[in-house]
Amino acid sequence: MSQLDRRMFLKVLAATGATPALLAAQDSSGGGRTDAVVWKRTPCRLCDVGCGMLVGIQDGRAVAIKGDVDAPANRGLACVKGYYAVQALYGSDRIRYAMIRRNGTLVRVPLAEAYDVIAARLRATVRQHGRDSVALYGSGQWSLTDAYVAGKLWKGALGSNHIDTSTRLYSASARAGASGSVGVDGPLGSFADIEHADVVVLWNHNIAETDPVLFSRMLERRRTNRLRVIELAARTTRTSYGIDRSIRYAPHAELAVIHAICHEIVARRQVNREFIERHVAFRKGSTAVGYGLEGEPITPDVPAVASWKEYVNFLGAYAARKSEPITGIAPEDITWLASLYADPARKVLSVWGSALNQHARGTWVNNGLHNIHLLVGKIAAPGNGVLPLNGQPGGAAAVHDAGSEPGSLPRGDVRNAADRELAARIWGIDARRINARPGRSALAIFRGLERSDVRFLWVHGTNPMVSLPNLARYRRAAAGDSCFVVVSDAYPTATTDIADVVLPAAWWLEREAVYGDAGRRLQHSAQMIQPPGDAASDAVHMIEIARRLGFARLFPWTAATHVEQSWNEYRRFHAHPATRLPSLAALRGGRGMLWPAGSSETAWRCNTAHDPAADKRRGQFDFYGHAEHRAWIWLRPYQPPAETTDARYPFWLASGTVLEHAGTGSLTRRIPTLHRAVPGAYVELNARDAEELGIGNGTRVRLISRRGSIELPARVNVRSQPARGQVFVPSFDEHVLVNMLTLDACCPLSGQPDYQKCAVRVERVT
C-alpha cells in the first residue's frame, strides 16, 4: 500500500511539477543552498473561508506558508490558523499506522489486516442485524471526494442511509433554512458581496474570531468609508470593538427580533411591493415541533400556503414595543435597523454563522433572515443578500454534500424515485438497493448506540466524543461494547480512545482532493507531500473496504486516479446549469470556480443576469428551486428555548469558537504557538456578575447544569464579555468538556443541536 502510494506520489509530482511560475528559487549565492523551495497552491483547511495559500515545499516537507495574493477569498492575507496550518501536519503524535484494540489496548497492525478486520465485521453486522445497523459519521473536514465515495459506499453498495457528517452540528439549519426560503441550499451570493454592500449586519457572529479574513475585508471597506458594519450579538467580542455599532439582544430572541424588524418595515410602508408581487409567496409550517430530544430529531415540515394578509396579521404580535420584553432591544433600535434594511439607496448583506444556526429553531431563524431580505427585495444581487458562514471547510458545509447526508443522494433525495433511479443508473446498480427512507442524522446515530440499534460505526476525521452536546449521554452509549467503532483520524482524540480499530488518515497536502467553501468556491488541491507511515485519505480507506466487501465493480478506481474518476462520475449527476460542476482540469488550472460552474462560474444564483439556470422571462430573479418559481416568506413564530434559566440555574451558557483553534482542537492544539495562545478552556463572565460572585480573573469556578459539572478558570474582561446573566466557554478543549453541560435539544427541521443555550449555575471553587 505504502509502496503504491509512493509511486503514485512521484507521478503526481511529475504532473504538477510543470508549474515553473510558482518556482521560487532561493538566491543560491545567499545561504549557500542550492535546493529550491517550491511554492504550491492549495486552499487552507481550517475554516469555511477556503483561503488560497502558497505552501513552500522542500525535500518532501512543507516548510513555509503564505497567503496567495491572487486568491479571491483572502488576497494574500491569512489568519493565525492559516499561517501555522502547515505545523499541524507535523505533530509528533500523528497516527501513522493502523491499530486494533486487543485486551483494551490499541496495538499497531499492518494496514491490510485492519482493512480485513473492518470488512469482515461490517459484512457480519449487515448479515446478522441488517443494513440499518451500520452507520457512518463523517466530517466537516471532508473533501467532496471523501463525501462522494462515502455516500456511494453506504447508500449504493450497502443500501444504508445512516450516514451523516459533523456539519450537522455547525450548518444544517442554514441549509434547511435556505432550501425552505429560496429553494436552493447553498448561498445565493458569495464573499464578493462584502465589497458591493453598503451595510453588513452580523447576526450573533463573532467574525473576528470565526472568519477573520472576511472580517479584514470588511474592515478594509470600512476604513475607506464605503461600508458600515453593524452587529446584533449576545456578547461583546473582538468583533464588537472593530465595527460601527453593536446591539445586544436576549439569548434565543432572534425570531422576535427578525419579526419586529419586518413589522417595522411593513408598518412604515417600506416594503418592496413590486418584488413581492413578482417573486414571493407565503408559507406557514407545523408549529408543534418539539425539541428533538429523543430518537431522530428531524421531523418533516408540512408547509401550507399563506397570504400577505396573514403575514401582516402574524407580524402584529411582534411590534417593537410588544416584543421588547423578549428581544431586550429598544424600539428605536428596531426602527433604526428596519430603516437600514429598507433604505432603497443602501445595499445590505446579512452575515451569520454556527452560533446562530445552533438554535432550537435554527431553520426558522434562517427563514426569518431571508424574510427580511425578501420583504425589501434585497437578495441575490451584488451587495444585497444573506451569507451564512458555516464554520467548517468541507462536506455539506461546503457547497454540496455529495450524497453524504441521511436523506440525500449525489443529486436529489432518497425519497424521490426519479432521484434513486438516476443514482442507480450512474452507479450501475439496481435502484431497489437504495433505501427510500432517510437514515439517521448525527444525534440519532449516537442515540442508536443507546439501544444497540447501531452496531457498527465508522467515524472519519471528527471527534464526537468531545463535540456532541449532552456528552455524558453519548459517552455512556459509546462505552457499551455492542457497537464496533472504527475511527479514521490524523491524531489521537477522545474518539480514537473508544475505537476498536483506528485508521491513519492523510490530511490536506498529503492527498489530492476537491474542496468547497462557504462562498461556493470549488478548489482543487494536489498532493504535495507523502502522508506519514501508512496514512491514506478517507476516500482511499473506503475504496479498500468496498473492494473487500465485493463492491470492486462500483469502485473501479486506483489510489492514484480515484479523485479524477470519482469527480467525473459525480459530475454526471449535475449536468443541469442549476447545479453544474466544472471539470477537474478547469479546477486544477486556476484558483477554483464559484459553483455552479461549467465553462464559467455563477456569481449570483437565481439572478437572471448571472445564473444561466434562471429564466429571464421571469424578470430580474427566478427562484427556480421552488416549483412556482417564487421565494417563500415563512410565518415562523417565536417559541421559547428548550431550557430556560431559573433560581437554581440562573446563567445562560453559550459555547463556541476561539480564533486560535478549529473544532475540537485535534489539529490546532498540535501547533505549539496556538496551544500557547489558548492552552485550555475558560469561562467568560460579565464583570458585574463576577464581582457579585467574588470571582476574579483566573479564579477557579465550577459550572453546573442539569446534566453535569466542570471546573475551569474564569476570565473577566479579557477576550470577550458576555452580557449580565450569561457565560461563555470555548468548546475546543478535550480536558474541559463544556458539552458535559450542554443540552441535546435540536432544531426539529435540521437536526442541528443548540449549543448556545442551556441553564447553568456558577460557583467559586474553594
Partner: protein, 260 residues
Amino acid sequence: MKAGAEIMVRVATATIAIGAAGLFIGSFSARATRRLPADRPAREAPVVRLDRDSQPPIDGEARVFAAVVPVPGEAARRRSAHPRTLATFRALRPYPGAPPRIPHGLTADEFRNTRCRTCHERGGYSLRFEAYAPVTPHPELTDCLQCHVADDAVVGVSFPGDHPDALCGQCHASPRGVKLTLPRSDWRGAAWPEPGAARMPGAPPAIPHDLELRGNCVACHAGPGAVAEIRTTHAQWSSCLQCHVTVASAGSFSRTRGTP
C-alpha cells in the same frame, strides 16, 4: 484596569512619534568592510557581506529622525533593554515570512481592543518595555490579532506603573505560574536566508523575501526599532527598490521564441 489605563498614558507620552521615511536625514556611519568568504565554491558568484560588528550600536532616535522631541531626563534611559536582532527576529517566527508572535504582555484592554497600533504604527521608545517598538509594515491592516498570536500567559497581565523591570517575568517565566507542556512537533521550517548577500562585490544585496505585507522596508530595516543585523547603512535613501531587487519570485530567463 485602572493601572493599565495609566500606563497607556505614560507610554503615549514617552513614545516619540517618528517621521515618515521622507523625513530621514541622518546617515549611519557605514563602515562596511568587504571580504570574500573562503569556503565558497569557486564557480559561484562571489558574495559580499557587510560586517555588522564594526557598526556602533544605535542608542537613540536622534541620529536617525529629524523630528525627535527630547524628553528631559529620559535620554539616559533610552537604551533598549530588548535590542532586536536576527536571533530574536527568528525566534518569533516558525519559518521565514511567518507573522511574528507577540513577545510581550498585553493588558486586557489592549488585547480586547487591539490597541497595537498605538505603539507599532509609528514606532518609538516605550518606557514600559524599555525598548523601541518595531514599526508595522502594514498599518492599514487593523485586526492585528488575526495573524499575530499572543501567549495566553501574558494576556491580561497588569503592569506595575513605575517599575518596568517587573515586566521581565512576562517573557522569562509565566506570570500566572502556569507550567505549560507544549505539544511535541516534528516541524522543521524553511532555512533562513543569509542577510547582506550580494552577487558581486559592491552590488546592493538582493531582497531574499517577497514584499507582500512587507513592502515598507523601513519597518524592519531602518530606525532604532530595526533588526540590528539588517539595519540599513543609508536610511537617507528611501527608494529601496531602486537598487535592491527581490529574488523571491525570480526564475531564470530563457528564450522561448526565436528572433522574429
